[in-house]
């Protein structure tokens, strides 16, 4: 039998139901893998006791024949999700010691379905970053290496720990969140699949807020089918999140026929950027050829406001963050700075936030404060929201013209070295999200699928963008692409 950690989520589900393995065995195999993978710094809070207890309960359900798809499946949970009694810090020092008294809706749904939590996963502080280098836990490390180089690479961000853990077979699947590309970029950097669902598909209740109008949680897995299965368990209406959609959730896995005949796939000319590496262009052309060969119709399209997506994002996201992060005041939870004689409440706020927030978070909170301040609100914030309307309209127009899904590269490069961006100005890091951020602004579903490798052997991914609420149709196109690309490479174990 194959190693238990090499199973796909779907394979593990089937093996569990057939009695070929147990949730306890699967869980132990993954706990052992995690113990040996400290060098990746993916798991930052370990919960083996909870995992063993959940596995035991899952085995009982499996024996009783009452086993939903996620029953007995060991997963990792991004540190952004509040998990009852378990440290939930959003990768930040300011939430040091915080143990929620409640469980997020998504983890509740997954646990109700029998999923097993192995621990909490590393991430950029408050999900602000594209390389997992802003984390209070230190960098997560990509299990992939470039050719013969021994340099440590970024797994991407902000869901860097989730991506590294899934790629290194430390868990069968992981929870991620995506505000500007934080599921899709790390998925592409580590050769795995990740989907950001339509805004409102998954409840945000109990997920630490970064930019509330953009944040969505999603699954990160090794196959498209696994993403379909996990997304199913995560989705659905939640009265506790007023933006969660009261819509029926289709059977996503059942929609994976692989048949894309007659589907119209749009290729947006604005995503062909100056200075884009040849390998990314070649990857994109290969993807186009694969879908065409599978019977899809390929059509060139224009999304004219693409260029303005990143600037609009860097007004809207910091503005919302400055408001959301106002709650970290050293009063109700987390870190409070030591005060000097005579310090009042203002000094307590200012010192606590200076100590608790890292540089990038401080920068974004202050940029957000500035664009919302009197005199600049119209020039920056309102203008950005108008541009956002135009970006969404770009997508609505092409969908109205008959486009079913849009194919683009997922990232402008493969994974880069940790530390490579340290001296660059912040904008250079922001450019990582150039292909993904439009999707958050428009509230659409987007999936990253590994389809190739660069000349140094690093994985590269393509992104598919779908219509609102059509995650099933989108995953089906992704499934076709996955099938045609036949990506089977995996990182050689060095950790």
């Amino acid at each position: 039998m194959t190693e238990l950690t090499d199973l796909t989520l779907a394979g593990a589900r089937d093996a569990l139901r057939a009695g070929e393995t147990t949730a306890a065995e699967l869980t132990e195999a993954h706990l052992t893998a995690i113990e040996g993978a400290g060098a990746l710094n993916a798991f930052v809070h370990h919960t083996p006791e909870i995992a063993r207890e959940q596995a035991k309960a899952a085995d009982a359900r499996l024996q009783a024949g009452d086993a939903p798809a996620m029953c007995g499946i060991p997963i990792g949970v991004k540190d952004l999700f509040c998990t009852k009694g378990v440290a939930s810090q959003a990768g930040s020092r300011i939430l040091e010691g915080f143990r929620p008294e409640y469980e997020s809706t998504i983890t509740t749904q997954l646990f109700d379905a029998g999923a097993v939590m192995l621990g909490k996963l590393n991430m950029d502080e408050f999900a602000m970053g594209s390389s997992n280098e802003t984390s209070t836990y230190g960098n997560a490390v990509n299990p992939w290496k470039a050719g013969n180089s021994d340099a440590a690479l970024t797994p991407g961000g902000s869901s860097g720990g989730s991506a590294a853990a899934v790629a290194a077979r430390l868990c069968l699947a992981a929870l991620g969140t995506d505000t500007g590309g934080s599921i899709r970029q790390p998925a592409a950097f580590t050769g795995i699949t990740g989907i950001k669902p339509t805004y409102g598909r998954c409840s945000r209740w109990g997920v630490v807020a970064f930019a509330s109008s953009l944040d969505q949680a999603g699954p990160m897995t090794r196959t498209v089918r696994d993403s379909a299965i996990m997304l199913q368990a995560m989705s659905g209406h939640d009265p506790k999140d007023s933006t969660s959609a009261d819509l029926a959730v289709p059977d996503f896995e059942a929609m994976l026929t692989g048949d894309v005949k007659g589907q119209v796939i749009g290729i947006p000319r604005e995503y062909r950027m100056d200075g884009m590496p040849e390998e990314i262009e070649a990857l994109w052309q290969d993807g186009i050829a694969m879908l065409k060969d599978a019977g899809a119709e390929i059509r060139d399209i224009s999304l004219p406001h693409t260029k303005y997506a990143l600037p609009a994002y860097y007004v809207i996201a910091p503005a919302e963050a400055s408001s959301n992060l106002a709650r970290y005041d050293g009063v109700r939870f987390g870190h409070r700075a030591a005060l000097s004689q005579g310090d009042g409440i203002t000094e307590m706020y200012e010192k606590t936030r200076a100590e608790g927030f890292g540089d990038e978070v401080q920068r974004r909170v202050m940029v957000g404060t500035y664009v919302l301040s009197a005199g600049f609100y119209d020039a920056y914030y309102n203008r950005a929201r108008k541009v956002r309307t135009l970006i969404k309209k770009d997508f609505e127009d092409v969908f109205a013209d008959g486009i079913d899904a849009i194919l683009t590269p997922a990232t402008p490069s493969s994974a880069f070295e940790l530390g490579a961006m340290t001296d660059a100005d912040p904008i250079q890091m922001y450019l990582n999200d150039v292909f993904t951020v439009t999707v958050n602004l428009a509230g659409l579903p987007g999936v990253a699928v590994p389809t190739g490798q660069d000349r140094r052997g690093l994985p590269l991914g393509l992104q598919l963008i779908g219509k609102p609420w059509q995650e099933g149709e989108l995953l089906n196109v992704a499934h076709c692409l996955e099938d045609r690309a036949g990506f089977v490479a995996r990182p050689a174990k060095w950790w």
Binding site: G200, Y314, Q362, T369, R383, I427
Partner: protein, 95 residues
């Protein structure tokens, strides 16, 4: 639009983040790089365009205006850095 050291100081104050004096100058330069990038938005013709309020058109659900939660002060205070006698404790606010 250019941010000087004094504006950086004012923004840090508004955001309630203590920034040491020698960090204000570099911080203002970082702000200027980001605002320079954002400046591109001024090129876009937004005449007659509504600012986006909700990315998915929806009417927020309503519920009965009744108490649905509460009466758990111990849980609410469990994570406070300083809590006394059922209250959050902060430095003296009123002289």
């Amino acid at each position: 639009m250019s941010i000087d050291k004094e504006t950086a100081r004012r923004v840090a104050k508004l955001a309630r983040i203590a920034v040491p004096d020698d960090r204000l100058e570099p911080l203002s330069q970082e702000f200027n790089a980001i605002l320079g990038f954002i400046e591109q938005l001024q090129e876009v013709d937004v005449a007659g365009v509504e600012p986006m309020v909700s990315v998915t058109p929806q009417r927020l659900k309503r519920r009965e205006d009744v108490v649905t939660d509460g009466d758990q002060p111990a849980k609410v205070l469990a994570n406070a850095p300083d809590a006394r006698e059922g209250f959050f404790a902060v430095p003296k606010v009123v002289e």
